[in-house]
Chain length 627, copies 2
C-alpha cells in the first residue's frame, strides 16, 4: 500500500524547523529561569518531522474533530511543545519568551489544557500514553474517524507500569491509530536510565506487548520521516517508534552530558548554544490538514427528552451497585455519549449490565486501574461521558490519574463498589476505607454515596451532566429501598428521613449507615428521644443548609456514622461545611472505622466498627447524657 506524503515541506526546511525548535526551547527556558531545554533538544528532530509532514491538524480550530492529537507524555519537554506552537503560529514569540512558566500565563511548566491544543495535563510521567489509549479508542470504535494519536514519550517513563498497561490495552484493542514516539536520550533526571541506549531491549518489550516497533536514529530526518509514514499506514497494532537521541543535541557543550536535566542554560551558555545552532529563526509553517470525516460518523449527538430510570418499590432490598448497573443502562439508552469501562469486575460492580446492553460502548480494561481511569480521561477528551468502575479499594491504584484528570478538567464518572467493612468476609484488602478522602481531595470533584436504589439511579443520571470528576460509592449488600420512584436527588442536597420539632439529636449517615441511623432513631423513639435522621447522599458538595438547620434544631448534637476511616470522609465533610458556615457549638460523636478490620459478616463488622444502630443510638444517648 502506498500513499502520498501528506505535505510538501521538504526535509531541508524541516531541518531548519528543528533548529528553530531547539533555539526557541533554549530561549524560552533561559528567559524563564527554569525548564528542560536538553530534554526538548533531544526530541526536536522528531517533532519537526512530525509537525511538518505527518501531524494532520487545523491549528486554527484546535477542537476540529478530525485533527490528529499530539500528547506530550514527557510533559517536561514543554519548551519544545510551545516552540512547536510558535512555529505553527498559534503562540507568539513574545508569549513564548515572556510567558513561559510565568504567573498567570498559559505556557505552564508542564502542559495543561488551559491551552486549546493540549488535550490532557501531563508531567506525571507514564500518563500521556495511557490517556492516548482512551483518545484512540474513541476514534477507532466510537467515532470511526481517521485521526491519529501521536504521543511523545521519554525513555525514563518506560519504567512506569502504566506504560505497559497502556501498550497492552492498545494492542488488545488493535489501536493502529496510536503511535508512541519514544525519545531515548539515555539520561534521566539524576543519571543514566536503566536500559540506556539499548533500543533492542525496549523493542523486545514493546513487541512482546503487541506493538509494532520501529527503531531509528532520532536525529536522522529521513529515517524519522520513513518511520512516521510507516506508522501512519494501517496495521492492526499500535506503533512504537524507538528513537535513539542525544540529550541536549545541537549544543556540544551539553550533548549527552549528565547533570543538565531540568536546567536552563545561563545567558552566556544560551548565547553560545544559539550561535552553534545557527541563530534565531522566524520560520512559520504548518503541516498537513486533516481530511474531513463524514459528519454522520460518531454518535456524540446530544441527548434529548427524559431518561426513563429504573423504578424500585419502597422496602424491596436492592444493592446500590445493582441500581448503578440498572441506571447506567437507562442513561446509556438516552445519551449515546455515555460509555462504560470496568477493571475486570463488571459482574461485581454491575457494569456488566451496560456491557450486555451496549457492547460497542463498553471497554473492558481488565485488571489495570490506572489504564481504566486514563482511558476514561481520553474518552472524555473526545466528548464522551465515561463511567469507570471497580472496587472502591482498587480506585486508589489510580489516584495519580484521578489527580491529573482533575488538572485536565475532564468530565467523567468513577464508581467504587464494595465500599467499607460492610463487604464482610473478603477482608480488609477489598474494603474501600480511604476512597472518600481521596475523592474529596481531588480538585473540583463531586462525591456521592447513596443509601438506596432510587437515589442511586437518580444520582447516576445527575453524574452524566456533572462537570469534573464525579464519584459514586456503592454498597455490596442489598438494603431496603427508602425512596419512591420519582423522588429527586439534586447534587449538593440531603434528605431528612426523620424530623420533628422536638428533635434532640441529629443522626447523620450516608450509604449503608443511613439504614443504621434509621434503626437507631427507631430505638431512640422508643425511649422518647426524637432524633433527626439525615441522608447525606451528596458528600461533596454537601447540603450545609440542611445540616445547619439540624444543628440549630438539635442543640448542635450530631452523631455522624461512616463506613470509612475517620479522616477525610463524611465526618470531615459535615464539620468542614458547618465550621465554614460559622456554626459553632457542635457536640459531636463521630463513628468511623478506627482499626484494621478482619473478615466476618457485614453485620458483624459494622457492629465491630461501632456503625450499627445500637452503637449509633448509644452515641446519641451519650451526647444527651442519657446513658
Amino acid at each position: 500500500m502506498t500513499r502520498t506524503l501528506p505535505s510538501q515541506i521538504d526535509l531541508d526546511t524541516v531541518a531548519e524547523l528543528a533548529a528553530q525548535l531547539r533555539v526557541d526551547s533554549i530561549r524560552s527556558s533561559t528567559a524563564a529561569g527554569s525548564g528542560h531545554p536538553t530534554s526538548s533538544m533531544s526530541a526536536a528532530d522528531l517533532l519537526a518531522v512530525l509537525v511538518a509532514r505527518h501531524l494532520r491538524s487545523d491549528w486554527d480550530h484546535p477542537k476540529s474533530p478530525d485533527n490528529d492529537h499530539l500528547v506530550f507524555s514527557k510533559g517536561h519537554a514543554s519548551p519544545l511543545l510551545y516552540s512547536v506552537f510558535r512555529a505553527v503560529g498559534v503562540v507568539s514569540e513574545q508569549e513564548l519568551l515572556g510567558g513561559y512558566r510565568r504567573f498567570g500565563q498559559r505556557l505552564q511548566g508542564h502542559p495543561t489544557p488551559v491551552l486549546p491544543w493540549v488535550d490532557v495535563a501531563t508531567g506525571s510521567l507514564g500518563q500521556g500514553l495511557a490517556d492516548g489509549v482512551g483518545i484512540a479508542l474513541a476514534g477507532r470504535y466510537l467515532e470511526r474517524r481517521s485521526y491519529r494519536v501521536w504521543v511523545l514519550c521519554g525513555d525514563s517513563e518506560l519504567t512506569e507500569g502504566s506504560i505497559w498497561e497502556a501498550l497492552d490495552k492498545a494492542a488488545y484493542y488493535e489501536l493502529s491509530n496510536l503511535i508512541a514516539i519514544v525519545d531515548v536520550n539515555r539520561l534521566g533526571q539524576r543519571g543514566p536510565t536503566e536500559l540506556g541506549w539499548d533500543l533492542d531491549a525496549y523493542a523486545r518489550r514493546a513487541e512482546a506487548f503487541g506493538a509494532r516497533t520501529l527503531v531509528i536514529d532520532g536525529h536522522d530526518l529521513r529515517a524519522i520521516d520513513h518511520a512516521m509514514a510507516a506508522a501512519a499506514r494501517a496495521d492492526d497494532r499500535p506503533t512504537v517508534i524507538l528513537a535513539r537521541t542525544v540529550k541536549g543535541k545541537g549544543f556540544t557543550e551539553v550533548e549527552d552530558r549528565n547533570g543538565w536535566h531540568g536546567k536552563p542554560f545561563p545567558a552566556d551558555m544560551a548565547e553560545r548554544a544559539i550561535a552553534e545552532l545557527g541563530g534565531v529563526r522566524q520560520l512559520a509553517l504548518r503541516g498537513p490538514r486533516p481530511a474531513a470525516t463524514p459528519a454522520t460518523n460518531g454518535n456524540r449527538r446530544a441527548a434529548t427528552g427524559a431518561v426513563t430510570l429504573p423504578r424500585y418499590a419502597v422496602g424491596d432490598k436492592v444493592a446500590t451497585r445493582k441500581a448503578y448497573g440498572d441506571a447506567l443502562v437507562a442513561v446509556g439508552a438516552h445519551d449515546p455519549r455515555v460509555v462504560a469501562l470496568d477493571g475486570e469486575v463488571s459482574n461485581s460492580t454491575f457494569a456488566d449490565e451496560f456491557a450486555r446492553a451496549y457492547p460497542h460502548r463498553y471497554f473492558e480494561m481488565f485488571i489495570a486501574e490506572q489504564q481504566l481511569v486514563a482511558a476514561a480521561t481520553g474518552l472524555s477528551v473526545r466528548g464522551y461521558r465515561p463511567f469507570a468502575s471497580t472496587f472502591a479499594a482498587f480506585l486508589t491504584r489510580a489516584h495519580d490519574f484521578i489527580r491529573m484528570g482533575a488538572i485536565s478538567g475532564v468530565d467523567l464518572g468513577l464508581v467504587g463498589s464494595h465500599a467499607g467493612v460492610e463487604i464482610g468476609a473478603d477482608g480488609p484488602s477489598q474494603m474501600g476505607l480511604e476512597d472518600l478522602a481521596m475523592l474529596r481531595a481531588a480538585h473540583g470533584s463531586t462525591v456521592l454515596y447513596p443509601s438506596d436504589a432510587t437515589s442511586t439511579a437518580a444520582l447516576v443520571e445527575a453524574m452524566v451532566s456533572t462537570p469534573g470528576i464525579s464519584y459514586l460509592r456503592t454498597t455490596r449488600g442489598a438494603y431496603p429501598v427508602l425512596y419512591p420512584a420519582g423522588e429527586t436527588f439534586p447534587v449538593g442536597g440531603a434528605k431528612v428521613l426523620r424530623a420533628s420539632d422536638r428533635d434532640q439529636v441529629t443522626l447523620i449517615g450516608a450509604g449503608v449507615t443511613v439504614h443504621a441511623c434509621l434503626d437507631a432513631a427507631d430505638q431512640l423513639a422508643q425511649e422518647a428521644i426524637p432524633a433527626r435522621v439525615l441522608d447525606c447522599y451528596s458528600i461533596k458538595p454537601i447540603d450545609v443548609a440542611t445540616l445547619a438547620a439540624a444543628v440549630d434544631a438539635t442543640g448542635g448534637r450530631l452523631v455522624i456514622a461512616e463506613d470509612h476511616h475517620p479522616e477525610g470522609g463524611l465526618g470531615a465533610a459535615v464539620t468542614d461545611s458547618l465550621l465554614a458556615a460559622g456554626r459553632s457549638g457542635l457536640s459531636l460523636a463521630h463513628l468511623a472505622v478506627r482499626a484494621i478490620p478482619g473478615s466476618g459478616s457485614g453485620a458483624e463488622l459494622l457492629a465491630w466498627a461501632g456503625l450499627d444502630g445500637d452503637h449509633i443510638a448509644a452515641a446519641a444517648r451519650r451526647l444527651l447524657d442519657r446513658t
Copy 2:
C-alpha cells in the same frame, strides 16, 4: 551444575498432598459460604510440589531468618494457602473448617500478617510480586542470606503495570532469589483473560523484561518439580515459571468453566467434588528445612548510643528537603537498619546524600512509585527501616500500596518533597496537594510536616522508631531555620512560636505556612493585635492539648493556613481533634488551595492561593471584625 533435591518426599505423596489441598480448599470455602475454591484448585499441584520438595521453611519458627518466603500475590487463593498451613501442621483442621472467613478469626478472606507465616497482606492484585522484590533485595544485598522468595501469581494480575515494574526491578537487581510462579488458568473473575493460555506470549513479555522463564504444564508434577529445581539454581535473573493450569482442576463439573470464580460449591457439589478427588485426607508433612546462614551475615543489629543530627544556625535559609537528606545520612550512620529508596529524583529529594554515603543501603527504583513503596514494604518485612522518597505528588501513584502496607502493618518512612504550590514554576502536575489527605486516611499512619531544618532532622530521627507508615512532607524552597539545634520535636507535639496572655487569635500553620503565619503575626503586632502562632509539625497525631489551650486563650478564633487542598489536610486534622476533644465555639478561617494553580514563583502562588502573610493577617482581622 547439579544438586541434590532438598527433600525426599516422593511425587506419589505429593500427588496425595495436592488432592488434599484441593479437598481442603473446597471444604473450607464451602463451610465459610464464600471464597475461591476454583482459583485454589488450579494451583494446588504447584503448591504441593513447592511445599513438599522446594520451599525451605522451619514452620515452627516462622520468623527464622533463613526461611524461604512464600507470598500469595493471588491472595484470593487463600483456601489453598490455609490448606498448606494445615498440611504442614501449623493450622488445625478445626480452624480451617471453622475459622475461615469468620469474624474474629485469623484465616481471613485474603491473607494478612495476623498469621505469622504471612509476610504481607495481599488481595489487591499485582502487589505480592512487587513486595517480593523488596524481600529479595534484602536477602541478596543486605543480609546475604540464601533464602528464596516464592511468589504465586495469578494470570489475571499480569495486566497490572506493577507486575512489570516488579519484574523490571528484579532483573535490574539480578534477583535470582525471586521466583514467580504464575498460575495461568485462563479465567479471570468475569471471563477469559486477555491472553488466555497463550503462555508463549507471557513468556515473551517476561523474557523481554529480563526474567528467565520456564513454561510448564502446571498439573504435571514432574515438570513442576524440574522447573522449581531449575529455578533454585543460581542464575543472575529472577525466574518466572509459567504454568498452564485448569481452573477448578480435579472436579470435572467445573473444570475450565467460566462463572465459577469466587464461588464456593454448594454442599452437594462439594460432596461430589471431594468424592471425585478421592475423599478427605489427613496427610501431615513438611518439606526441606533451611540451612542456617552464619549469624554474622546481615547487619540488622540494633542501634546504640545517640544519633548526631546535623545542626543548623537559626536564621540560615535551608530547605527542609535538604535537611531530610542530611538527617538521613545521620540516622544511617547510627542505625544499620536504615535503608533508602528513591524514584529517580534523589537529587531533588536529597536522598542522594544517603546514596553517596551508604551506596550499599540505597536502592534506586527509577520512575516506578508503586515498586518504590512495595520494595520498602518488603525491606520492612525483613526488619529494615526503609525511607522511600519522591515528589509528594507522585506518591499518589502508590496509594494502593500504601493502603495495603498499612494492612500489612509494616514500619516504613515515606517522604514527599516539592509539596504544594510553593514549588512554583513547574506547575500543578508536580504539586502535591492531596498527599496529606491520602496519608492521614491510611490506617495507623503518622503525618509530619516540618517548617524548618532543625525540626526536619529531629523528625527523621523519630521516624526510625515510629511504628506503621510515617510520612514526612518536605518543601522545595529554602526558608529560615526557626529552632536551635537540640530542640526536641516529639511526634504528636506542636510548637508555640508566638504567645502572650493577651492573644486575640491563633494562627496555625505547618511547613511553609508557618513562615507566613509568623509574617502575619508581625503585621498584626504592629496593629496591636497579639496573635498566637502554632507550628503543627505533627499533623497526625496532632497536639490537641496545645490546640485546645490556644482555642481557650483566643476566644476560639483560628486561622489555619495550609499549602494543600482544603479537604483532609491540616485544617481537618485541627478541627477533627478539637471537636473530638469537645471544644465548641470555634470561629474559623481556613486558608487552603481552592483552585487549580498554574506556574509562577512560589511567592506569587502562595499569595494567589491566599497563603501568604498578608492573607493570613487579613483573615485574622476578619475574625476580629477589624477589617
